[in-house]
């Protein structure tokens, strides 16, 4: 439900990153923005994509693609001593022994992983 504010924050962060690049990359255009979104992050990828075009308009991100990589939950099972990926978020049991696992090792991410940019003409 707060996807619009998340997208606004992503566009701001990427725009700031661009202005911090070396002079030769000033005016670079963004082709793709890749996110890592955990299955437990309460974010709907489709809603992010829905807002993307509107928020990125008239910014260096206009026309770019948004790629959302959903990270499944990984729990740590103390008795087994192993980390396991879970299929969903309905039960936090070790797939090997069935024990409930309180320790989440992955699945809460909400981050910008990387961007692909076009530097345009490289100035000599």
């Amino acid at each position: 439900m707060h996807e619009l504010s998340l997208v606004t924050s992503i566009v701001e962060t990427v725009s700031e990153t661009l202005t911090a690049l070396p002079d030769s990359s000033r005016g670079a255009r963004v082709l793709e923005v890749r996110l890592r979104v955990g299955a437990l992050a309460s974010v709907i990828p489709e809603s992010l994509e829905f807002c993307w075009g509107i928020v990125s308009e008239a910014t260096p991100l206009e026309g770019s693609r948004l790629v959302v990589n959903v990270m499944p939950v990984v729990v740590h099972c103390a008795p087994c001593g192993i980390d396991s990926e879970l299929d969903g978020v309905q039960s936090f049991r070790c797939p090997r022994c069935g024990e409930l696992c309180g320790e989440i090792r992955q699945g809460r991410e909400l981050e910008i992983d990387s961007i692909e940019i076009d530097d345009g003409e490289v100035k000599p």
């Binding site: 978020v89 309905q90 990387s114």
Partner: protein, 224 residues
């Protein structure tokens, strides 16, 4: 065309997370235990908090509350009847509280300083989705579930339940007429957040409040 990849590895909510980390440090330095209460609308957060504030005050504790709603100061007025300082945060349409709103409302809160408090309660906007992403710097996140809501709420909203440190079941006094299946509710909470402390309470009768207040005192003791 020269294309290249620039690694960012930056949290989307980094600004909120940084503000929250600053708040958490100031809470801890002041020795105040801060709790963020989250639930769906109508669970009884305000009634539960009214009772908690009253009981803590009766025991001589210094308490205060920030309360978030989209509009109105109805909840703040209800809570203020306990005698504790209460400040309303109106989000005007925003579905959650964030660290910036908390910081702003702590600043310039007349007569209230963090180091003059033992407990600060933050009643979040009634919503089981969005508040889970926004750290308010709280030491304890409490999720509330009422007996009228259905035992499968934790399964339907796993994100929020999984992010909580304690769970409170409210309105236990009407559990029976509601056909509340206690065993299933407890099992579902534990399935989503293994090992979480669960309190079965009634703000009306006071059931379960002793155990809850004991938990608060213990959690605050750990801060010292």
């Amino acid at each position: 065309m020269t294309t290249r990849i620039v690694e960012l590895r930056r949290g989307i909510l980094k600004k909120n997370d940084e503000l929250a980390a600053g708040l958490r440090a100031s809470y801890t330095a002041a020795g105040v235990l801060v709790l963020n209460l989250v639930s769906s609308p109508g669970t009884g957060k305000t009634a539960f908090l009214e009772r908690t504030l009253r009981e803590l005050k009766a025991r001589g504790a210094r308490v205060a509350a920030l309360v978030g709603d989209l509009e109105t100061d109805n909840d703040a007025r209800r809570l203020a009847a306990s005698g504790a300082p209460v400040r309303q945060i109106n989000t005007h349409g925003i579905c959650h509280l964030d660290a910036e709103m908390i910081g702003k409302h702590l600043d310039g809160w007349e007569g209230v300083a963090l180091d003059g408090l033992d407990y600060l309660f933050i009643e979040n906007v009634g919503n089981l989705v969005c508040p889970s992403s926004y750290d308010l710097g709280e030491q304890i996140r409490v999720v509330l579930l009422s007996v009228t809501e259905g035992e499968d709420k934790p399964l339907k909203y796993p994100t929020l339940f999984n992010s909580a440190d304690a769970a409170v079941i409210t309105k236990m006094d009407i559990a029976e007429p509601c056909g509340f299946d206690r065993a299933t509710a407890l099992r579902n909470i534990n399935e989503i957040r293994p090992g979480i402390r669960i309190f079965e309470t009634s703000a009306k009768t006071g059931a379960g409040m002793e155990e809850w207040l004991g938990y608060l005192a213990e959690a605050r003791g750990v801060l010292q």
